[in-house]
């Protein structure tokens, strides 16, 4: 089949699904809607596969122009798609993991009366995400960028009757928008500098440019990335976003949308390579986010919140990789993370489903037996994220840590601390949910097949995902890296020059420490289930961490409240006391002048005649004088 047509088909299928489902949302049953939505995503996946098969990496990417879009006075930005290694990789993740999550949703949402709407929005999200990764220029990517933001808003606030959910949805959208400011600034800057927004053209023209503008552009891009990928300072929306249905959390807030920032950075890696300053910023922001989020994850009691902070933390790792200039490692981790984090979220969803909506891990426990499939898959996911050897997470995270060690041992130590915390809270979660004895009241039951099949597929991927980019050390040849090299220029510059011995030592060290941490966690949570008590009773530091470093409160005090104050007072003072009186003043002045002058209209004919005479005399006098 025609490759161009195929490329267009990939985003077109989900879009068609969204439109059909939205218009027929009242007529379709939940299962029919879910089936249609899933089928379309599978179709998109199949199209991606076909594209991949017809794709020759050696030839580089191809651009498929769909439509003229913004064309004015020398600006010519078409609606065009770009098919290359990077977009193909992302397309696989989006459609592949997406299809599984759609399938899962059929079971998860079957009882919801607005299931069709849900699938419409999920399809719309997939469409937007595909545009994001397939766009051949920044502006098309920005369509997807904003589109996924909107869908994220819609899906977080899917259960719109609860005001807190709506607030969380708005928070997510607004924070993303703050990032978008950076994104747009970067785009206008790049456009002015290069006269185009096409990726390939910009990357070509950028090579060798030494320009402080590049630092600005990359910083703006990174600001956009922090919004979408929940990095400091714009990360607080992601935990709140867990208000949405769990499949949404899995698809949007774990596997795909939140990795958009990483994707964008890899996409424009050639620019970032020109701005070492930005790379350092990214590195440290990523590190700080990874540690901060991991520390918060230690004390969370909501099953989804733990996973959310874990996501933020893992995204931090990816940014560390980007900051280190190892774009392939970042993409590798994006891929494996998509597998195991989606798995974990779906597993959590299965648990929540089994317990009829319960999310607090203090009221779980001992679920190993009732939900056996879920338990096993969740366990695999946990092991993967903890980075135990030979799991996918092990390879990807290890690659990042190796790059970090190459930069500085201190960085490595920090990341190691993060990894240990990750292992700790993940196993705490696992043990508290599945081990020990049941502490809740509902009657747990295993989820239907539509939900467990995706879990099983994802657990296989979580285990085997590492094969995609198997390092030389284990007999692989870094397939993913070489594949991506054709698309992302920056990958060509990365090099890992550690000796095999060093790598092995580092791996061993990590593994041993993780093992120790797991053992401790087992003792604390599996054997006797230590629950977090009242926050007020905690020691200061722990309370601070448990309350998420009070970042939300800080933002509220720093931004939300002053903004509300500003809004109120601008209206009360500037508007009502200054601007409105200006208008009123003009009106009143006109009235007052009229009021004064009307006294002249006495109605007395003699007086008016006199006035006329005076006027006549004056007029004559003036003409005489002047003439």
């Amino acid at each position: 089949m025609n490759q161009d047509l195929l490329a267009a088909l990939v985003p077109a299928l989900p879009l068609a699904g969204a439109i059909i489902l939205a218009s027929l949302r009242r007529k379709l049953s939940a299962n029919a809607a879910g089936g249609l939505a899933t089928a379309l995503i599978v179709g998109a996946f199949a199209a991606s596969v076909l594209l991949f098969l017809g794709f020759d990496a050696a030839q580089g990417g191809r651009t498929v122009k769909l439509l003229d879009w913004v064309r004015l006075a020398g600006m010519d930005i078409p609606l065009a798609l770009r098919i290359d290694a990077l977009s193909l990789t992302m397309m696989f993740i989006v459609t592949g993991v997406g299809a599984l999550i759609h399938l899962y949703s059929i079971g998860y949402m079957h009882a919801d009366e607005r299931a069709a709407t849900f699938f419409a929005q999920l399809n719309l999200f997939t469409f937007a995400m595909l545009l994001l990764v397939m766009g051949s220029n920044f502006l098309v990517t920005f369509i997807g960028w904003e589109g996924v933001g909107l869908c994220s808003y819609l899906l977080i606030g899917f259960w719109y009757r609860t005001p807190e959910y709506n607030y969380a949805a708005r928070k997510a959208f607004v924070m993303n928008r703050i990032g978008d400011v950076g994104m747009v600034l970067a785009m206008v800057l790049l456009f002015q500098r290069f006269g185009t927004l096409e990726y390939d053209a910009i990357m070509d023209r950028a090579s060798g440019v030494n320009d402080p503008l590049m630092v600005a552009a990359t910083l703006f891009l990174f600001l956009g990335a922090t919004g979408k990928s929940a990095q400091i300072p714009l990360f607080t929306w992601l935990p709140d976003a867990m208000a949405g249905p769990t499949p949404v959390s899995a698809l949007i807030h774990a596997a795909t949308m939140v990795t958009a920032g990483i994707f964008l950075t890899v996409r424009s890696s050639a620019l970032f390579e020109l701005a070492p300053f930005t790379q350092d910023i990214i590195l440290w922001v990523g590190t700080a986010t990874a540690l901060l989020a991991a520390s918060i994850g230690l004390f969370q009691n909501d099953i989804k919140k733990v996973l959310a902070y874990s996501t933020v933390s893992q995204l931090g790792y990816m940014f560390v990789a980007l900051g280190l200039g190892s774009y392939s490692a970042a993409m590798f981790h994006v891929t494996t993370h998509a597998f195991f984090k989606a798995l974990l979220f779906l597993g959590a969803g299965s648990v929540i489903h089994a317990l009829g909506g319960e999310q607090d891990i203090r009221r779980m426990g001992g679920l190993k037996a009732p939900v056996r499939t879920t338990y096993i898959t969740f366990l695999i996911g946990t092991i993967a994220i903890a980075g135990l050897p030979l799991m996918s997470g092990f390879f990807s995270k290890d690659l990042i840590m190796a790059f970090a060690f190459q930069r500085s041992p201190v960085l490595f130590a920090l990341l190691l601390a993060g990894a240990l915390m990750t292992a700790f809270y993940m196993f705490r979660l696992l043990f508290l949910v599945f081990h020990g004895s049941y502490r809740g009241k509902a009657h747990p039951h295993e989820s239907p097949l539509t939900m467990t099949v995706p879990l099983m597929v994802l657990s296989v991927l979580s285990v085997a995902g590492g094969l995609l980019n198997l390092p030389h050390l284990f007999g692989g040849h870094e397939a993913m890296k070489h594949f991506l090299e054709t698309a992302a220029e920056g990958i060509r510059y990365e090099s890992l020059e550690l000796s095999a011995m060093t790598e092995i030592v580092l791996m061993a060290l990590t593994t041993v420490l993780v093992g120790v941490v797991i053992y401790i966690a087992h003792g604390r949570f599996a054997v006797k289930a230590t629950l977090e008590g009242d926050e007020a009773a905690m020691p200061f530091l722990k309370r601070l961490v448990a309350r998420r470093w009070r970042v939300d409160e800080l933002y509220r005090a720093l931004f939300e409240r002053p903004f509300g104050w500003l809004s109120t007072n601008l209206h009360a003072i500037a508007e009502n006391r200054v601007v409105a009186p200006l208008v009123r003043g003009v009106g009143d002045a006109a009235l007052r002048v009229g009021e004064t002058v009307r006294g002249l209209q006495t109605g007395n004919a003699g007086f008016h005649l006199l006035a006329m005479l005076c006027g006549l005399i004056l007029l004559l006098t003036f003409t005489l004088m002047g003439g």
Partner: protein, 110 residues
Amino acid sequence: MEQGILTAIRTVPLDHYVLLSFLLFGIGAAGVALRRNTIIVLMCIELMFNSVNLLLAAFSAHHSDPRGQVFVFFIMLVAAAEVTVGLSILVMMKRIVDSVDVDQMNRLKG
């Protein structure tokens, strides 16, 4: 036709005619402003009309152009119409407010 008597314009300077009509006009105008009796105000208006007529006639004779006198004729027409209407308004006014005082007619006061 005896030229001597009837061609004052040849012996009296035109200026004097102009001054005379200005004087009459000024007196009329002052009268309108001065008096409260509407009938006298109307008469003063007639006086102003006539001063203008005189001026026109004088110029007409000076230039030997009969058109100026035709103009005077038309002014008389209008004056006659104006007086009939003006006097009937006066009668109405007397009937309604029982007064012919112009200062009573101040309904246009702003």
